[in-house]
């Protein structure tokens, strides 16, 4: 029966004015804590490592290192945030990193291609192909993002190991140099990551596409009825994520001067997901900022760096990383709950 009891929503307090995104955070202490948990946690983390006396932690070279080593994670985390905001996810990025690095390496070593050609063709090209595959399976065939990209995670890794059973190494000198040089003391990898961050921030905050992405995450049906190309936007998200995974593969190849198909990028999908969730992007879509993602990536990088400097064994670091993912998911849930409490629904 169409009869409905019309719930009269409690009007917001007159003196506070109607709730806007900014005012909401002021109206719930819990939300306020949630929104600022990451910077605070960051400060505590750095303080902790300093207090525990991690050797060389508070030095300029160390921070330069942290930035350089987090660049590959950063360039994938940014487009991954767009996917998550739309309610999607790509778990295959770790394998995409490996395959693109392997193909890039083979193109340079065996085919003698110059890095200037091999990076766009090999690394980025492979990424785009994988993105089209993932995105098509999800948007056109209608399969679940988690299942599809879990499948391609395994398949792509297998393909990479079939192409190169042994690590590919012996790259051109110029290519290996890239990871260890820069301009004005800023490593090229950091500049690359900064460009990706800037583009991501621009698209999300200042372009029409950014509004479309948010709208799809909040209410896909309403976005579709508003004339947004929902499927095409989601497909673009998968392509951008996989292409940037290819870019990250090129960064790793240069950093390591080697492309081991079996081990490169293993588990990266989890660190990227952890960083993005820590940065306040919701796993259910509809919420997230680039600022948060950048902080999330750096937080994880500092954590890892500090643990390494203090000679914490790999097993211990693994435990802490895994816990970080659970904590990130907990933060996401708590934020959602706080939001719905403010809404009174």
């Amino acid at each position: 029966m169409a009869q409905e009891v019309i719930s009269t929503e409690a009007p917001p307090p007159a003196e506070a004015g109607p709730p806007t995104a900014r005012r909401v955070s002021g109206r719930s202490a819990l939300l306020l804590v949630m929104r600022n948990a990451l910077p605070v946690g960051f400060a505590i983390l750095i303080g902790l490592f300093v207090a525990l006396g991690a050797p060389n932690f508070l030095t300029l070279p160390n921070f330069s290192d942290i930035l350089r080593l987090s660049a590959p994670i950063m360039v994938v985390a940014i487009p991954m945030a767009f996917l998550l905001i739309m309610g999607h996810v790509d778990l295959s990025v770790g394998s995409t990193i490996a395959l693109s690095a392997v193909v890039l390496g083979l193109l340079m070593r065996d085919w003698g291609l110059s890095p200037l050609l091999a990076v766009p063709l090999g690394a980025l090209g492979i990424g785009v192909l994988i993105g089209v595959m993932n995105g098509t399976l999800v948007t056109r065939v209608g399969l679940s993002p988690i299942i599809v990209t879990l499948g391609t995670l395994t398949a792509i890794r297998g393909f990479a190991m079939w192409l190169a059973p042994f690590p590919v190494f012996g790259f051109p000198r110029d290519f290996v140099q890239i990871a260890y040089t820069g301009v004005f003391g800023i490593p090229y990898l950091v500049i690359g990551a900064a460009v990706v961050v800037a583009i991501g921030a621009f698209v999300l905050a200042l372009s029409a596409a950014g509004r479309h992405v948010l709208a799809i995450g909040v209410n896909e049906e309403a976005a579709f009825l508003s004339g947004i190309s929902v499927k095409r936007t989601i497909l673009a998200g998968y392509i951008a994520t996989a292409a940037m995974a290819g870019f990250a593969g090129a960064m790793y190849a240069s950093l390591l001067n080697s492309a081991p198909a079996g081990s490169l990028g293993v588990g990266n999908e989890l660190s990227i997901l952890t960083a993005v969730l820590l940065g306040g992007v919701s796993f259910n879509g509809g919420r997230g900022t680039i600022r948060g993602v950048v902080l999330g990536v750096l937080f994880l990088a500092v954590l890892q760096n500090g643990l390494t400097l203090m000679n914490v064994p790999a097993a211990g670091a693994g435990i802490i990383q895994g816990l970080a993912l659970v904590v990130a998911a907990g933060l996401d849930l708590a934020t959602q709950k706080a939001e719905s409490r403010v809404k009174g629904r």
């Binding site: 029966m1 109607p18 995104a21 909401v24 029409a208 909040v218 309403a222 009825l225 919420r287």
Partner: protein, 508 residues
């Protein structure tokens, strides 16, 4: 007496939904309960099923008096309710569904043999070929309804309540259901039959009660009343129309939108034509196919057959984007699910379809956006008109204004405005603003408007022309002058197969 309700009252805050309702249903009787939307039918059923607790009054089932039920007590007392939305689990078998929550056991295992046998016995009386081991997902809607009834009968009720059981059924299945219900009645069951369709009352029921605004306004044996009396009880006299536009004119221009034998999701074939500056109302009850019609035109649902034309040119309704390119926009019927982005701001909600067009060098121009928003907010009388307010904080009426404003913000690209139940669940003030806006758009801006409604008063105060939709067919096409509330209501209810029902041609 299987059911005696005395002085039942229920209020939600200041809104009184039921006021001193008396109702008696005898064993071996089919008692029809009618009333317009919001009359209190649902609330009454929910009191009987234990879903809510009434404020005052008593309910006597099988001779035992109760002030309130819990759902379990209601079942124990002998009341079984079959709701409109089927509660069957599609990927279980018929027998598993019938025994759901009441499984027969043999040791620790479910005794399937026993359950299947018992289910077969229950279904036997319907004389249909439903087998206990069939998956419910493979059954037709009509057969599911019967399984639903079998499930209720399995609990051996004294009183069976059906809430609009035929809303999803076709003509043939409705007849079948009526036959089976009469069979159950003759076996001594008391049946309370809630419906919108007056034709069914006279085909099936023994007694009828009409509820309006929480009061019983009519209760009598069906043999002692005629359809006109029942309709008059549901909708007394056409109320004086204060808002009728005396200067209404229908621009006598060519048609903007033509449908020729269009079928959508089993609705149709439908033919109609919509002219510039005209407000056309599609009047129909729940399940009449009104939503399928407008969503089909907008490309949200697949058109199965037939031709559409916009300004004489063939138009393929493949997606909302295609509709927008053709100048057709839709304000969808389910505001929360289909229109509003609750976590986004007013300005994002309004301008979402337009951000790309308002951008330059891929960059949004926030100042231009604010100007467009401010301008539109004024026209739709948005309250508050702060662009940053999040949509969930707005009243239903203001959310609906945003949904309409979304298309007003780019009016030059709009020729046809489709609205699906535009005023459902919104307050009187917002309703008046929307009416005014729709009139203005048609009269002064020359837009063609097609809106659906199940409110006869709204239909008559807005429409230039009324199409009455019933069970997916246009059963009448009437100019406004030829309409009264009773007339369109009775046609929509199927009580009157009138001479005024013209074949759905588009000549007018």
């Amino acid at each position: 007496m299987a059911l005696v309700v005395r002085g039942l009252s229920k209020a939600y805050g200041a809104k009184r939904v039921l006021e001193g309702v008396d109702l008696e249903v005898e064993a071996g009787q089919i008692h029809a309960l009618l009333g317009p939307n919001g009359s209190g039918k649902s609330t009454l059923i929910r009191c009987l099923s234990g879903a809510i607790v009434p404020d005052t009054g008593t309910m006597e089932v099988g001779g035992v008096e109760h002030h309130a039920f819990t759902p379990r007590e209601a079942i124990t007392a002998g009341t079984s309710v079959i709701y409109q939305n089927f509660s069957l689990v599609p990927n279980l078998t018929v027998a598993d569904n019938v025994f759901l929550g009441d499984e027969r056991r043999a040791g620790v295992q479910i005794d399937h043999a026993m359950q299947n046998k018992e289910t077969e016995r229950l279904l036997e009386q319907f004389g249909r070929s439903i087998r206990p081991r069939m998956l419910v997902s493979l059954l037709s809607v009509g057969d599911r309804q019967l399984v639903e009834i079998a499930k209720a009968l399995h609990r051996q009720p004294k009183l069976l309540i059906l809430d609009e059981p035929t809303a999803a059924l076709g003509e043939q299945e409705t007849k079948q259901l009526g036959k089976h219900l009469r069979g159950l009645r003759d076996a001594g069951l008391a049946i309370l039959y809630v419906t919108h369709i007056i034709g069914e009352v006279f085909a099936i029921a023994d007694r009828v009660t009409v509820l309006r605004d929480g009061h019983v306004v009519l209760t009598n044996d069906v043999s002692r009343v005629n359809p006109a009396q029942v309709i008059a009880a549901i909708s007394p006299g056409s109320s004086p129309r204060t808002e009728t536009d005396s200067r209404r004119r229908v621009a006598d221009e060519g048609s903007v939108l033509d449908l020729d034998q269009v079928t959508v999701d089993g609705v149709g074939p439908l033919s109609l034509s919509l002219r510039t500056g005209e407000i056309l109302s599609v009047f129909g009850l729940l399940g009449s196919g009104r939503t399928e019609l407008v969503e089909g035109i907008y490309g949200r649902r697949r058109i199965e057959s037939g031709q559409l034309r916009v300004r004489g040119r063939p138009y393929r309704a493949t997606s909302p984007r295609a509709a927008l390119r053709a100048g057709i926009v839709l304000v969808a019927g389910d505001r929360i699910r289909q229109s509003i982005f609750d976590k986004l701001s007013s300005i994002d909600n309004m301008l979402l379809p337009h951000f790309a067009r308002l951008s330059r060098w891929f960059t949004r121009r926030t100042r231009t956006e604010r100007l467009v928003f401010g301008d539109t907010a004024k026209r739709i009388r948005l309250q508050p008109d702060d662009p940053r307010v999040l949509a969930w904080a707005l009243s239903g009426g203001n959310q609906q204004k945003l949904a309409v404003g979304r298309w007003l913000a780019a009016l030059e690209h709009v020729d046809v405005l489709l609205l699906d139940e535009p005023t459902q669940g919104i307050d009187v003030g917002a309703r008046r603003d929307l009416y005014e806006l729709m009139r203005h758009l048609a009269r002064d801006e020359g837009k063609a408007i097609l809106f659906t409604s199940s409110d006869p008063e709204e239909t008559l105060s807005l429409a230039d022309r009324v199409l009455v939709l019933r069970r997916g067919q246009i059963v009448a096409e009437l100019p406004r002058e030829a309409c009264t509330e009773q007339k369109i209501l009775s046609i929509a209810h199927g009580a009157e197969i009138t001479s005024s029902a013209v074949p759905s041609s588009s000549t007018a």
